[in-house]
Protein backbone atom coordinates (compact mmCIF):
# COMPACT_ATOMS: atom_id res chain seq x y z
CA UNK A 1 0.00 0.00 0.00
CA UNK A 2 1.34 3.39 -0.98
CA UNK A 3 1.47 5.81 1.96
CA UNK A 4 -0.60 8.91 1.14
CA UNK A 5 1.98 11.06 2.97
CA UNK A 6 4.63 9.87 0.52
CA UNK A 7 7.84 7.94 1.02
CA UNK A 8 9.96 8.16 4.16
CA UNK A 9 12.24 10.84 2.75
CA UNK A 10 9.25 13.16 2.27
CA UNK A 11 7.87 12.28 5.72
CA UNK A 12 11.25 12.97 7.36
CA UNK A 13 11.55 16.35 5.64
CA UNK A 14 7.92 17.28 6.41
CA UNK A 15 8.63 16.77 10.14
CA UNK A 16 11.78 18.90 9.91
CA UNK A 17 9.79 21.60 8.12
CA UNK A 18 7.51 21.66 11.19
CA UNK A 19 10.55 21.89 13.48
CA UNK A 20 10.56 18.23 14.57
CA UNK A 21 13.50 15.80 14.28
CA UNK A 22 12.23 12.25 14.00
CA UNK A 23 13.98 9.06 12.99
CA UNK A 24 12.84 5.48 12.58
CA UNK A 25 13.09 2.37 14.72
CA UNK A 26 12.66 -1.21 13.53
CA UNK A 27 9.82 -2.94 15.35
CA UNK A 28 11.39 -6.34 14.65
CA UNK A 29 15.06 -6.02 15.59
CA UNK A 30 14.81 -2.79 17.61
CA UNK A 31 17.58 -0.95 15.74
CA UNK A 32 17.32 2.80 15.29
CA UNK A 33 17.67 3.73 11.61
CA UNK A 34 19.20 6.72 9.86
CA UNK A 35 18.94 7.84 7.10
CA UNK A 36 15.20 7.11 6.65
CA UNK A 37 14.51 3.82 4.88
CA UNK A 38 11.54 1.88 3.54
CA UNK A 39 13.07 -1.23 5.11
CA UNK A 40 15.36 -1.93 8.03
CA UNK A 41 18.98 -2.16 6.77
CA UNK A 42 19.74 -4.41 9.77
CA UNK A 43 17.14 -7.13 9.26
CA UNK A 44 15.09 -6.27 6.16
CA UNK A 45 11.84 -5.73 8.04
CA UNK A 46 9.28 -3.30 6.69
CA UNK A 47 7.72 -2.75 10.13
CA UNK A 48 9.22 0.59 11.15
CA UNK A 49 7.97 3.43 13.39
CA UNK A 50 8.97 7.05 13.77
CA UNK A 51 10.16 8.41 17.13
CA UNK A 52 11.88 11.50 18.54
CA UNK A 53 15.49 10.73 19.45
CA UNK A 54 17.02 12.42 22.51
CA UNK A 55 19.01 14.66 20.18
CA UNK A 56 22.16 14.02 22.22
CA UNK A 57 25.19 13.03 20.25
CA UNK A 58 28.97 13.03 19.97
CA UNK A 59 31.18 14.36 17.19
CA UNK A 60 32.66 11.27 15.46
CA UNK A 61 34.67 12.92 12.67
CA UNK A 62 35.28 16.52 11.70
CA UNK A 63 36.52 18.71 8.87
CA UNK A 64 36.66 22.42 8.18
CA UNK A 65 35.83 23.29 4.61
CA UNK A 66 37.93 26.29 3.65
CA UNK A 67 36.07 29.03 1.84
CA UNK A 68 36.98 32.58 0.96
CA UNK A 69 35.73 35.16 3.50
CA UNK A 70 33.75 36.95 0.79
CA UNK A 71 31.92 33.68 0.05
CA UNK A 72 30.99 33.24 3.72
CA UNK A 73 34.24 31.96 5.25
CA UNK A 74 35.27 28.54 6.57
CA UNK A 75 32.62 26.15 7.86
CA UNK A 76 32.32 22.94 9.81
CA UNK A 77 31.14 19.58 8.49
CA UNK A 78 30.88 16.81 11.08
CA UNK A 79 29.74 13.26 11.39
CA UNK A 80 27.75 12.87 14.58
CA UNK A 81 26.87 9.69 16.46
CA UNK A 82 23.49 9.94 18.20
CA UNK A 83 22.84 8.24 21.53
CA UNK A 84 20.49 5.91 19.67
CA UNK A 85 23.49 4.45 17.79
CA UNK A 86 23.02 6.04 14.38
CA UNK A 87 25.45 8.28 12.51
CA UNK A 88 24.64 11.31 10.39
CA UNK A 89 26.26 14.29 8.72
CA UNK A 90 25.55 17.78 10.04
CA UNK A 91 27.34 20.88 11.28
CA UNK A 92 28.00 22.46 14.69
CA UNK A 93 26.54 25.95 14.60
CA UNK A 94 27.54 27.60 17.89
CA UNK A 95 31.30 27.09 17.70
CA UNK A 96 34.05 28.34 15.42
CA UNK A 97 34.98 25.56 12.94
CA UNK A 98 38.46 25.11 14.44
CA UNK A 99 36.92 24.60 17.91
CA UNK A 100 34.87 21.57 16.87
CA UNK A 101 36.68 18.46 18.08
CA UNK A 102 36.06 14.73 17.88
CA UNK A 103 34.39 13.56 21.08
CA UNK A 104 32.57 16.85 21.69
CA UNK A 105 29.06 16.44 23.13
CA UNK A 106 26.42 18.03 20.91
CA UNK A 107 22.64 18.46 20.82
CA UNK A 108 20.34 18.46 17.81
CA UNK A 109 18.30 21.50 16.76
CA UNK A 110 16.03 22.07 13.83
CA UNK A 111 16.29 25.42 12.07
CA UNK A 112 13.44 26.38 9.77
CA UNK A 113 14.09 28.89 7.00
CA UNK A 114 11.23 29.91 4.73
CA UNK A 115 9.40 26.73 5.65
CA UNK A 116 12.39 24.43 5.02
CA UNK A 117 13.71 22.56 8.05
CA UNK A 118 17.36 21.56 8.50
CA UNK A 119 18.93 19.48 11.25
CA UNK A 120 21.97 21.14 12.85
CA UNK A 121 23.81 20.71 16.15
CA UNK A 122 25.01 22.85 19.03
CA UNK A 123 27.96 22.07 21.25
CA UNK A 124 26.75 21.42 24.81
CA UNK A 125 28.10 23.88 27.37
CA UNK A 126 31.35 22.71 28.98
CA UNK A 127 30.83 19.25 27.57
CA UNK A 128 33.89 18.96 25.36
CA UNK A 129 35.77 15.77 26.24
Amino acid sequence: MVNQEGGVQAIYQAALDQGRFEIQRCNDCGDAIFFPRELCPGCGSGDLSWFSPSGKGTVYAVTTVRRKPEAGGDYNVSLIDLEENVRLMSRIENAAPEEVKIGMAVKARVTVNEGHGLLVFHAMEGAAQ
Binding site: Q9, F35, T63, T64, V65, Y75, V77, R87, M89
Partner: protein, 392 residues
Protein backbone atom coordinates in the same frame (compact mmCIF):
# COMPACT_ATOMS: atom_id res chain seq x y z
CA UNK B 1 36.56 -23.73 -1.74
CA UNK B 2 34.48 -22.79 -4.79
CA UNK B 3 33.57 -19.57 -3.00
CA UNK B 4 37.19 -18.49 -3.33
CA UNK B 5 37.07 -18.82 -7.12
CA UNK B 6 40.43 -20.60 -7.09
CA UNK B 7 39.35 -22.38 -10.28
CA UNK B 8 39.78 -19.07 -12.14
CA UNK B 9 43.28 -18.39 -10.81
CA UNK B 10 45.83 -17.88 -13.57
CA UNK B 11 43.43 -18.88 -16.36
CA UNK B 12 43.26 -15.38 -17.84
CA UNK B 13 45.87 -12.83 -18.72
CA UNK B 14 46.16 -9.20 -19.65
CA UNK B 15 47.67 -9.36 -23.12
CA UNK B 16 47.63 -5.69 -24.08
CA UNK B 17 47.67 -2.33 -22.35
CA UNK B 18 47.86 1.31 -23.42
CA UNK B 19 47.36 4.85 -22.25
CA UNK B 20 46.75 7.88 -24.43
CA UNK B 21 46.76 11.63 -23.86
CA UNK B 22 47.57 11.38 -20.17
CA UNK B 23 48.30 14.73 -18.59
CA UNK B 24 46.83 17.32 -20.93
CA UNK B 25 45.04 16.60 -24.20
CA UNK B 26 43.36 19.89 -25.11
CA UNK B 27 40.52 19.62 -27.60
CA UNK B 28 39.95 15.88 -27.04
CA UNK B 29 36.70 14.37 -25.80
CA UNK B 30 36.36 11.49 -23.31
CA UNK B 31 35.46 9.18 -26.20
CA UNK B 32 38.41 10.18 -28.35
CA UNK B 33 40.83 9.49 -25.50
CA UNK B 34 39.14 6.14 -24.82
CA UNK B 35 39.22 5.17 -28.50
CA UNK B 36 42.91 5.93 -28.93
CA UNK B 37 43.81 4.00 -25.78
CA UNK B 38 41.60 1.10 -26.96
CA UNK B 39 43.18 1.04 -30.41
CA UNK B 40 46.68 1.02 -28.94
CA UNK B 41 45.89 -1.63 -26.31
CA UNK B 42 44.41 -3.97 -28.92
CA UNK B 43 47.47 -3.46 -31.12
CA UNK B 44 49.74 -4.04 -28.12
CA UNK B 45 47.98 -7.39 -27.63
CA UNK B 46 48.73 -8.33 -31.24
CA UNK B 47 45.01 -8.37 -32.01
CA UNK B 48 42.70 -6.29 -34.18
CA UNK B 49 39.40 -4.64 -33.24
CA UNK B 50 37.67 -7.50 -35.11
CA UNK B 51 38.96 -9.86 -32.41
CA UNK B 52 37.27 -7.89 -29.62
CA UNK B 53 33.99 -9.56 -28.69
CA UNK B 54 33.69 -8.36 -25.09
CA UNK B 55 33.58 -4.84 -23.70
CA UNK B 56 33.76 -3.36 -20.22
CA UNK B 57 33.57 0.38 -19.73
CA UNK B 58 32.15 3.09 -17.47
CA UNK B 59 31.72 6.84 -17.48
CA UNK B 60 31.22 9.34 -14.69
CA UNK B 61 28.76 11.38 -16.76
CA UNK B 62 27.04 9.24 -19.40
CA UNK B 63 24.51 6.80 -17.95
CA UNK B 64 24.38 4.61 -21.08
CA UNK B 65 28.08 4.84 -21.92
CA UNK B 66 28.60 1.31 -23.26
CA UNK B 67 26.32 2.00 -26.24
CA UNK B 68 28.22 4.98 -27.68
CA UNK B 69 31.49 3.13 -27.02
CA UNK B 70 30.30 0.07 -29.00
CA UNK B 71 29.12 2.38 -31.78
CA UNK B 72 32.33 4.43 -31.84
CA UNK B 73 34.68 1.43 -31.88
CA UNK B 74 32.58 -0.38 -34.50
CA UNK B 75 32.52 -3.62 -32.54
CA UNK B 76 29.75 -6.21 -32.03
CA UNK B 77 30.45 -7.55 -28.54
CA UNK B 78 28.71 -10.68 -27.25
CA UNK B 79 29.57 -9.64 -23.69
CA UNK B 80 29.08 -6.16 -22.21
CA UNK B 81 29.59 -5.05 -18.61
CA UNK B 82 29.16 -1.39 -17.75
CA UNK B 83 29.17 -1.72 -13.98
CA UNK B 84 29.84 1.75 -12.60
CA UNK B 85 31.14 1.84 -9.04
CA UNK B 86 33.42 4.85 -9.46
CA UNK B 87 37.17 4.71 -9.84
CA UNK B 88 37.43 1.04 -8.92
CA UNK B 89 35.16 -0.01 -11.82
CA UNK B 90 37.91 -1.02 -14.23
CA UNK B 91 39.49 -3.37 -11.71
CA UNK B 92 36.06 -4.72 -10.76
CA UNK B 93 35.41 -5.41 -14.46
CA UNK B 94 38.03 -8.16 -14.32
CA UNK B 95 35.71 -10.65 -12.59
CA UNK B 96 32.73 -10.52 -14.97
CA UNK B 97 35.23 -10.46 -17.87
CA UNK B 98 36.89 -13.63 -16.54
CA UNK B 99 33.51 -15.30 -16.05
CA UNK B 100 32.53 -14.42 -19.61
CA UNK B 101 35.81 -15.82 -20.98
CA UNK B 102 35.47 -18.92 -18.79
CA UNK B 103 31.97 -19.65 -20.05
CA UNK B 104 32.98 -19.18 -23.67
CA UNK B 105 30.60 -16.26 -24.09
CA UNK B 106 33.47 -14.32 -25.65
CA UNK B 107 37.19 -14.63 -26.44
CA UNK B 108 38.76 -11.19 -25.98
CA UNK B 109 37.53 -8.49 -23.61
CA UNK B 110 38.50 -4.86 -24.02
CA UNK B 111 38.33 -2.75 -20.85
CA UNK B 112 38.52 0.94 -21.76
CA UNK B 113 38.14 4.39 -20.26
CA UNK B 114 38.75 8.00 -21.21
CA UNK B 115 38.38 11.34 -19.51
CA UNK B 116 39.07 14.88 -20.65
CA UNK B 117 38.47 16.08 -17.11
CA UNK B 118 41.31 18.60 -17.07
CA UNK B 119 40.79 20.43 -20.35
CA UNK B 120 37.10 19.73 -21.03
CA UNK B 121 35.06 22.80 -21.92
CA UNK B 122 32.42 21.58 -19.47
CA UNK B 123 33.67 23.01 -16.19
CA UNK B 124 33.80 20.92 -13.03
CA UNK B 125 31.51 23.50 -11.43
CA UNK B 126 28.84 22.80 -14.07
CA UNK B 127 29.30 19.06 -13.62
CA UNK B 128 28.97 19.49 -9.86
CA UNK B 129 25.69 21.38 -10.27
CA UNK B 130 24.31 18.75 -12.63
CA UNK B 131 25.22 15.99 -10.15
CA UNK B 132 23.32 17.74 -7.35
CA UNK B 133 20.20 17.58 -9.51
CA UNK B 134 20.65 14.19 -11.16
CA UNK B 135 22.05 12.30 -8.17
CA UNK B 136 20.94 14.03 -4.97
CA UNK B 137 22.30 13.04 -1.55
CA UNK B 138 19.66 14.72 0.62
CA UNK B 139 21.24 13.73 3.94
CA UNK B 140 24.69 15.14 3.11
CA UNK B 141 24.46 17.85 0.47
CA UNK B 142 22.62 20.37 2.72
CA UNK B 143 25.80 20.65 4.81
CA UNK B 144 27.91 21.44 1.73
CA UNK B 145 30.72 18.94 2.19
CA UNK B 146 33.25 19.52 -0.59
CA UNK B 147 32.80 16.07 -2.09
CA UNK B 148 34.64 13.91 -2.57
CA UNK B 149 37.48 15.59 -0.63
CA UNK B 150 35.62 16.35 2.62
CA UNK B 151 34.63 12.69 2.94
CA UNK B 152 38.29 11.66 2.86
CA UNK B 153 39.12 14.52 5.24
CA UNK B 154 36.59 13.12 7.71
CA UNK B 155 38.23 9.71 7.44
CA UNK B 156 41.65 11.29 7.95
CA UNK B 157 40.39 13.13 11.05
CA UNK B 158 39.26 9.86 12.53
CA UNK B 159 42.49 8.03 11.68
CA UNK B 160 44.47 10.82 13.34
CA UNK B 161 42.21 10.74 16.40
CA UNK B 162 42.29 6.98 16.90
CA UNK B 163 45.88 6.17 15.99
CA UNK B 164 47.84 9.40 16.38
CA UNK B 165 48.47 9.59 12.65
CA UNK B 166 50.01 12.97 11.83
CA UNK B 167 49.75 15.46 8.98
CA UNK B 168 53.47 14.86 8.38
CA UNK B 169 52.76 11.16 7.85
CA UNK B 170 49.99 11.98 5.39
CA UNK B 171 52.35 14.41 3.66
CA UNK B 172 54.98 11.68 3.34
CA UNK B 173 52.52 9.70 1.18
CA UNK B 174 52.50 12.58 -1.31
CA UNK B 175 56.29 12.95 -1.09
CA UNK B 176 56.88 9.24 -1.72
CA UNK B 177 54.53 9.36 -4.71
CA UNK B 178 56.46 12.33 -6.05
CA UNK B 179 59.77 10.52 -5.60
CA UNK B 180 58.42 7.73 -7.81
CA UNK B 181 57.03 10.25 -10.32
CA UNK B 182 60.47 11.82 -10.62
CA UNK B 183 61.66 8.48 -12.00
CA UNK B 184 58.81 8.29 -14.55
CA UNK B 185 58.94 10.52 -17.63
CA UNK B 186 55.16 9.97 -18.13
CA UNK B 187 54.24 11.53 -14.79
CA UNK B 188 52.48 14.89 -14.87
CA UNK B 189 54.11 16.44 -11.79
CA UNK B 190 57.83 15.78 -11.36
CA UNK B 191 59.12 18.82 -9.45
CA UNK B 192 60.80 18.08 -6.13
CA UNK B 193 58.35 17.98 -3.23
CA UNK B 194 59.07 17.97 0.52
CA UNK B 195 56.92 17.22 3.54
CA UNK B 196 57.04 20.91 4.44
CA UNK B 197 55.88 21.83 0.93
CA UNK B 198 52.81 19.67 1.48
CA UNK B 199 52.17 21.02 4.98
CA UNK B 200 52.47 24.60 3.75
CA UNK B 201 50.27 24.19 0.69
CA UNK B 202 46.71 25.46 0.59
CA UNK B 203 44.38 23.80 3.09
CA UNK B 204 41.15 22.71 1.37
CA UNK B 205 39.24 20.52 3.84
CA UNK B 206 41.13 19.98 7.09
CA UNK B 207 43.40 18.07 7.51
CA UNK B 208 43.89 17.70 3.74
CA UNK B 209 45.69 20.27 1.60
CA UNK B 210 45.70 20.59 -2.15
CA UNK B 211 48.90 18.45 -2.14
CA UNK B 212 47.12 15.71 -0.19
CA UNK B 213 44.76 15.45 -3.16
CA UNK B 214 45.16 13.76 -6.51
CA UNK B 215 45.79 15.75 -9.66
CA UNK B 216 43.14 16.56 -12.24
CA UNK B 217 44.39 15.39 -15.62
CA UNK B 218 43.13 14.07 -18.94
CA UNK B 219 43.79 10.58 -20.16
CA UNK B 220 42.62 7.36 -21.70
CA UNK B 221 43.54 3.85 -20.61
CA UNK B 222 42.69 0.37 -21.86
CA UNK B 223 43.63 -3.26 -21.45
CA UNK B 224 42.74 -6.52 -23.18
CA UNK B 225 41.97 -9.73 -21.27
CA UNK B 226 42.10 -13.16 -22.93
CA UNK B 227 42.35 -16.79 -21.84
CA UNK B 228 45.85 -17.72 -20.72
CA UNK B 229 46.45 -20.27 -23.47
CA UNK B 230 45.77 -17.62 -26.09
CA UNK B 231 47.85 -15.02 -24.25
CA UNK B 232 50.88 -17.30 -24.50
CA UNK B 233 50.66 -17.12 -28.32
CA UNK B 234 50.48 -13.31 -28.36
CA UNK B 235 53.48 -10.97 -28.54
CA UNK B 236 53.57 -9.59 -24.99
CA UNK B 237 54.55 -11.55 -21.90
CA UNK B 238 51.20 -12.49 -20.32
CA UNK B 239 50.29 -10.86 -17.03
CA UNK B 240 48.06 -13.38 -15.28
CA UNK B 241 45.12 -12.55 -13.02
CA UNK B 242 45.77 -14.56 -9.87
CA UNK B 243 43.09 -13.10 -7.63
CA UNK B 244 40.24 -10.62 -7.67
CA UNK B 245 37.65 -9.29 -5.27
CA UNK B 246 35.22 -6.38 -5.13
CA UNK B 247 33.24 -4.99 -2.21
CA UNK B 248 30.75 -2.14 -1.72
CA UNK B 249 29.52 -1.35 1.78
CA UNK B 250 27.99 2.09 1.45
CA UNK B 251 27.81 5.14 -0.75
CA UNK B 252 27.74 8.08 1.66
CA UNK B 253 30.67 8.59 4.02
CA UNK B 254 28.07 9.13 6.78
CA UNK B 255 26.86 5.55 6.25
CA UNK B 256 30.29 4.03 6.83
CA UNK B 257 30.37 2.00 10.04
CA UNK B 258 34.03 2.76 10.85
CA UNK B 259 35.85 5.46 8.92
CA UNK B 260 39.18 3.76 9.54
CA UNK B 261 38.21 0.38 8.05
CA UNK B 262 37.24 0.17 4.38
CA UNK B 263 35.62 -2.52 2.24
CA UNK B 264 39.17 -3.20 0.97
CA UNK B 265 39.36 -5.61 3.91
CA UNK B 266 36.75 -7.70 2.09
CA UNK B 267 37.95 -7.18 -1.50
CA UNK B 268 41.54 -7.86 -0.43
CA UNK B 269 40.60 -10.98 1.54
CA UNK B 270 38.74 -12.36 -1.50
CA UNK B 271 41.58 -11.52 -3.90
CA UNK B 272 44.22 -13.10 -1.64
CA UNK B 273 42.05 -16.19 -1.11
CA UNK B 274 41.61 -16.71 -4.85
CA UNK B 275 45.33 -16.19 -5.43
CA UNK B 276 46.34 -18.38 -2.51
CA UNK B 277 48.64 -15.55 -1.47
CA UNK B 278 49.10 -13.00 1.27
CA UNK B 279 50.66 -9.55 1.58
CA UNK B 280 54.15 -11.04 2.03
CA UNK B 281 53.92 -12.50 -1.48
CA UNK B 282 53.42 -9.10 -3.14
CA UNK B 283 56.34 -7.37 -4.89
CA UNK B 284 54.61 -4.14 -6.03
CA UNK B 285 51.46 -2.36 -4.80
CA UNK B 286 49.44 0.06 -6.92
CA UNK B 287 46.89 1.57 -4.50
CA UNK B 288 44.40 4.15 -5.71
CA UNK B 289 45.63 7.33 -3.99
CA UNK B 290 42.86 9.84 -4.58
CA UNK B 291 44.01 11.42 -1.30
CA UNK B 292 46.97 10.71 0.97
CA UNK B 293 44.75 9.04 3.58
CA UNK B 294 43.74 6.41 0.98
CA UNK B 295 47.24 4.97 0.78
CA UNK B 296 47.39 4.60 4.57
CA UNK B 297 43.96 2.95 4.73
CA UNK B 298 44.73 0.50 1.93
CA UNK B 299 48.19 -0.41 3.29
CA UNK B 300 46.37 -1.43 6.48
CA UNK B 301 43.25 -2.96 4.97
CA UNK B 302 45.26 -5.01 2.45
CA UNK B 303 47.43 -6.35 5.25
CA UNK B 304 50.76 -4.60 4.68
CA UNK B 305 50.54 -2.98 8.14
CA UNK B 306 48.47 -3.52 11.25
CA UNK B 307 45.51 -1.13 11.66
CA UNK B 308 46.77 2.26 12.75
CA UNK B 309 50.41 1.64 11.82
CA UNK B 310 50.52 2.82 8.21
CA UNK B 311 51.48 6.38 9.16
CA UNK B 312 54.68 5.23 10.86
CA UNK B 313 55.31 2.67 8.09
CA UNK B 314 55.21 5.42 5.48
CA UNK B 315 57.22 7.87 7.58
CA UNK B 316 60.03 5.30 7.80
CA UNK B 317 60.35 5.46 4.00
CA UNK B 318 58.95 2.01 3.29
CA UNK B 319 56.87 3.04 0.26
CA UNK B 320 59.45 5.37 -1.30
CA UNK B 321 61.87 4.22 -4.00
CA UNK B 322 64.33 1.89 -2.26
CA UNK B 323 61.85 1.10 0.54
CA UNK B 324 60.56 -2.30 1.58
CA UNK B 325 57.31 -2.08 -0.40
CA UNK B 326 57.21 -0.22 -3.75
CA UNK B 327 53.86 1.63 -3.81
CA UNK B 328 52.43 3.63 -6.71
CA UNK B 329 55.54 3.22 -8.81
CA UNK B 330 54.26 5.49 -11.59
CA UNK B 331 53.74 8.39 -9.15
CA UNK B 332 50.10 7.52 -8.51
CA UNK B 333 47.05 9.73 -8.67
CA UNK B 334 48.94 12.22 -6.54
CA UNK B 335 51.76 12.83 -9.03
CA UNK B 336 51.44 10.68 -12.18
CA UNK B 337 47.93 11.90 -12.93
CA UNK B 338 44.28 11.32 -12.24
CA UNK B 339 41.83 11.39 -15.15
CA UNK B 340 38.64 11.24 -13.09
CA UNK B 341 38.60 7.52 -12.36
CA UNK B 342 42.11 6.20 -11.78
CA UNK B 343 41.60 2.45 -11.27
CA UNK B 344 42.48 1.39 -14.80
CA UNK B 345 45.77 3.29 -14.61
CA UNK B 346 46.74 1.47 -11.41
CA UNK B 347 46.13 -1.81 -13.25
CA UNK B 348 48.12 -0.66 -16.28
CA UNK B 349 51.05 0.34 -14.06
CA UNK B 350 50.95 -3.11 -12.43
CA UNK B 351 51.20 -4.69 -15.89
CA UNK B 352 54.05 -2.36 -16.87
CA UNK B 353 56.01 -3.44 -13.79
CA UNK B 354 55.37 -7.16 -14.35
CA UNK B 355 56.44 -6.92 -17.98
CA UNK B 356 59.67 -5.32 -16.79
CA UNK B 357 58.92 -2.27 -18.93
CA UNK B 358 58.97 0.40 -16.25
CA UNK B 359 62.30 2.04 -17.06
CA UNK B 360 63.83 4.01 -14.20
CA UNK B 361 60.93 3.12 -11.90
CA UNK B 362 61.20 -0.62 -12.59
CA UNK B 363 61.08 -2.73 -9.43
CA UNK B 364 63.81 -5.31 -10.01
CA UNK B 365 62.49 -8.84 -10.36
CA UNK B 366 58.82 -7.94 -9.74
CA UNK B 367 56.73 -11.10 -10.24
CA UNK B 368 53.53 -10.11 -8.38
CA UNK B 369 51.53 -6.91 -8.10
CA UNK B 370 48.46 -5.96 -6.16
CA UNK B 371 46.36 -3.34 -7.94
CA UNK B 372 43.63 -1.73 -5.90
CA UNK B 373 40.84 0.62 -6.93
CA UNK B 374 38.64 2.83 -4.79
CA UNK B 375 35.39 4.47 -5.83
CA UNK B 376 33.03 7.14 -4.59
CA UNK B 377 33.82 8.31 -1.07
CA UNK B 378 35.58 5.18 0.24
CA UNK B 379 32.42 3.48 -1.07
CA UNK B 380 33.60 0.76 -3.44
CA UNK B 381 36.84 -1.24 -3.30
CA UNK B 382 38.21 -3.62 -5.89
CA UNK B 383 41.45 -5.57 -5.63
CA UNK B 384 43.31 -7.69 -8.16
CA UNK B 385 46.50 -9.68 -7.78
CA UNK B 386 48.50 -9.96 -10.98
CA UNK B 387 51.53 -12.08 -11.67
CA UNK B 388 54.06 -13.20 -14.25
CA UNK B 389 54.41 -16.79 -15.45
CA UNK B 390 56.81 -17.35 -12.55
CA UNK B 391 54.01 -16.54 -10.09
CA UNK B 392 51.57 -19.13 -11.48
Amino acid sequence: MSGDLNNLRGKFAIAGVATFGCGEAPGYTDMELLAQAARLAVADAGLTMKDIDGLCTASASSTMWSMPVVEYLGIRPRFIDATMIGGSSFIAHLMPAMQALESGQCDAVLVAYGSAQRTSTLSRKEIGKARLLMDPQPYEHPYQPMLPMSAYALAASRHMHEFGTTRRQLAQVAVSARQWARKNADAFMRDPLTVDDVLNSRMVSDPLTVRDACLVTDGGGAYVLVRADRARDLPQPPVYVLGQGTAVWNRQISSMADLTVTAATQSGRDAYAMAGMGPKDIDVAELYDAFTINTLLFLEDLGFCAKGEAGAFVEEGNISPGGSLPVNTNGGGLSWGHPGMYGIFAAIEGVRQLRGNAGDSQVAGAQTAIVHGNGGTLSSQSTAILGTAAAL
